[in-house]
């Protein structure tokens, strides 16, 4: 029974698939499945960054800002400085790192809670984007080098590049968080920071770099987003925030000890991707779709966390 409850989210996903495919048979077609994967690539990258931060016992409300900065730095490098595509990628990642460093300084040096620090970063980052774009107008760059554009529209052996990038990030995070000693330390910090400190783990340094790595990861998502639409749209990253948090907690609800984990996050992201794609195929009005996905998100989070509280964690108390 407990086993069933732990994986009940998979049942929910299966139910969604059945529902959407009955509604519109196109949902099951191979082309559409690739659509789902492509549509989930950026969210997966952002959610992996979030997994890292939540594993350390924090939260990052500024993932969207890191994503925006990644996109902005890359597009500006290409447009204003005629940079080569790899320089633009580097610039984007540096842009994301700046946000990560701001968070890290606030959290580790100034002892601000992760929530407040990243909320502040979110407000400042949003404001900076508005100042920079004079109110939030997009910066478009039609004549992008093909190599950069290929980040979103190209393919590697027939698989879209963004899916490949997301898969590579996924594998790196899996090795990093689940198989390395560094990952073990991060888990220790997330569970018992004081114990971790006493055990000789350099808690502050790991948290410091953790936030920077997470922000840099989100910037990769921003690169793909900007390559896809050939422009930088200010404040567009915000839409990933709650989805990323939801994916991490859905994933955590499937873990034996209710911890955030890479595979769980992948399942959470796919669930949200299936949901978004299915709702799209239902042909709903934009506003209705927004509202519906918001409501489903609350339900999914409540379900995931409630299940974690009542089923997964209770085992430990008995």
């Amino acid at each position: 029974m407990r086993w069933f409850l732990r994986y009940s989210f998979l049942v929910v996903i299966a139910a969604c698939i059945v529902f959407f495919s009955l509604w519109n048979p196109v949902f099951l077609s191979a082309g559409n499945q690739m659509n789902i994967l492509e549509g989930s690539a950026i969210l997966l990258i952002v959610a992996l960054g979030m997994t890292l931060v939540v594993s350390m016992g924090g939260i990052d409300l500024s993932v969207g800002i890191a994503l925006d900065f990644g996109a902005a730095f890359a597009v500006v490098a290409l447009k204003e400085y005629d940079a080569a595509w790899y320089v633009a990628i580097l610039a984007g990642i540096v842009g994301g790192c700046l946000i990560g460093i701001l968070n890290a300084v606030l959290i580790v040096w100034l002892n601000v809670s992760a929530f407040m620090a990243t909320l502040g970063t979110f407000f400042i980052g949003s404001s900076v984007q508005r100042i920079f774009t004079n109110g939030g107008g997009p910066i478009s760059h039609r004549r992008m080098p093909q190599e950069f554009r290929d980040l979103a529209v190209g393919d590697v052996a027939g698989i879209p590049t963004e899916v490949v990038i997301a898969a590579v990030v996924l594998i790196l995070y899996f090795i990093f968080l689940e198989c390395s000693i560094f990952g073990k330390r991060i888990q220790a910090i997330g569970l018992q920071p004081t114990a971790a400190l006493i055990a000789g783990i350099e808690v502050k340094r790991i948290i410091f770099f953790g936030f920077i790595i997470a922000a840099a990861t989100c910037a990769v998502g921003g690169l793909i987003a900007s390559a896809n639409i050939r422009m930088f749209t200010p404040l567009s990253g915000f839409s990933y925030l709650l989805d990323a948090i939801a994916a991490v907690f859905i994933g955590a609800s499937m873990h034996p000890r209710g911890r955030p984990n890479v595979v769980g996050t992948l399942v959470g992201v796919l669930f949200l991707g299936i949901l978004a794609n299915g709702l799209n195929l239902m042909g709903l009005n934009f506003n209705t779709k927004d509202a519906l996905s918001g409501i489903i998100l609350v339900l999914a989070l409540a379900f995931a966390i409630g299940q974690r509280r009542f089923v997964v964690l209770r085992k430990g108390h008995k």
Partner: protein, 322 residues
């Protein structure tokens, strides 16, 4: 850490000093800013923020001031804008009488509060995550109601809240003042308020001494949702209708005002007075910067930095204390 008590005292006063500095700067740059007329205007502008800050103060005082495990309600601005959207939509597009529209709006706001309470108290989600999620869902539903369009409201009562005066003061300001008094009395002068604060101060201790902490937390979310509903009328009055995107700024100002209020209070605790005062000061600052011609987009940056200064100073003093 090893900071001396004097240094700690100094750090404690940093937010107040930064604020004082900004006001002195504004006073020099724009001497007209502090005439009775403009002060009245700024107070009017501050009313919605004051009202929602009262709600947030109640939730924090009852839930504890740790932002992660304690109480926080980020969905009050969302409750305010959905209530505002419902009132505007009903009155302007459907010709409903205002009192009936108000009942609908109140029901919607209460549902937001009930949902928060359910997620936090029953499901035991972290308040910040729960209320953030609620807020996104509620903003989404609001878009369905308004179809992301602006809806004008010309109802006499709403216009009265904007332009009317009571004993020489703006009606909105008087109403917000009264509301502050009511919430202050409730939280600081009644048995209920004391027990709610005990819940926030130390949940386990409160529970051991026989206080039903769950009930208090539930009611605090309910009271917060009520401020969201009340704020909706002032949001409509201030903007002469409901417009999309009002919630972001309200959220920023609410969080800043409430935590700033704590920096001004003698024990560095969130209080009702502090929240109201903080809201007034934050609005004055926004208006002040606007009036001396600072780019409007900079104000978000300044306010964001202020939040961080306030919180960092609180963190530094807390570190010294423990």
């Amino acid at each position: 850490m090893n900071a001396s008590p004097y240094f700690r005292k100094l750090v404690e006063w940093v937010p107040v000093a930064v604020f004082a500095g900004m006001f002195i700067f504004l006073g020099i740059e724009a001497p007209n800013l502090f005439t009775p007329f403009t002060i009245d205007l700024m107070l009017k502008q501050a009313v919605p923020t004051v009202v929602v800050s009262l709600g947030l103060a109640v939730v924090i005082m009852t839930g504890g001031d740790d932002v992660v495990s304690g109480g926080i309600d980020l969905s009050i601005p969302a409750a305010a804008i959905i209530a505002a959207a419902i009132i505007a939509d009903q009155v302007t597009n459907h010709g409903t009488l205002l009192p009936i529209a108000l009942v609908f709006a109140l029901l919607a706001a209460i549902m937001v509060g009930v949902l928060n309470a359910f997620l936090v108290v029953v499901i035991r989600m972290t308040p910040l995550l729960a209320t953030l999620a609620t807020s996104v869902a509620v903003v989404g539903i609001t878009k369905v109601i308004t179809q992301s369009k602006r809806i004008n409201v010309t109802d006499p009562f709403i216009v009265f809240l904007r332009d009317g005066t009571v004993i020489g003061l703006s009606a909105g300001v008087v109403a917000a003042g009264l509301l502050t008094l009511i919430y202050w009395f409730l939280m600081h002068r009644t048995r209920w308020g004391m027990q709610a604060q005990a819940t926030g101060g130390g949940r386990e201790a409160a529970e051991v001494s026989g206080i039903s902490t769950k009930a208090y937390q539930t009611i605090s979310f309910f009271l917060a949702a009520c401020t969201g509903f009340l704020a909706s009328m002032f949001v409509l009055a201030r903007g002469s209708g409901s417009s999309p995107g009002t919630e972001d700024n309200l959220l920023l100002e609410m969080v800043l005002a409430t935590f700033l209020g704590a920096a001004f209070s003698p024990r560095r605790k969130v209080t009702i007075w502090g929240a109201a005062l903080g809201a007034v000061l934050v609005t004055m600052l926004s208006v002040g910067f606007k009036s001396i011609g600072v780019n409007v987009f900079w104000t978000g940056c300044i306010k964001g930095s202020l939040i961080l200064i306030v919180v960092a100073s609180a963190a530094a003093t807390a570190r010294g204390r423990y």
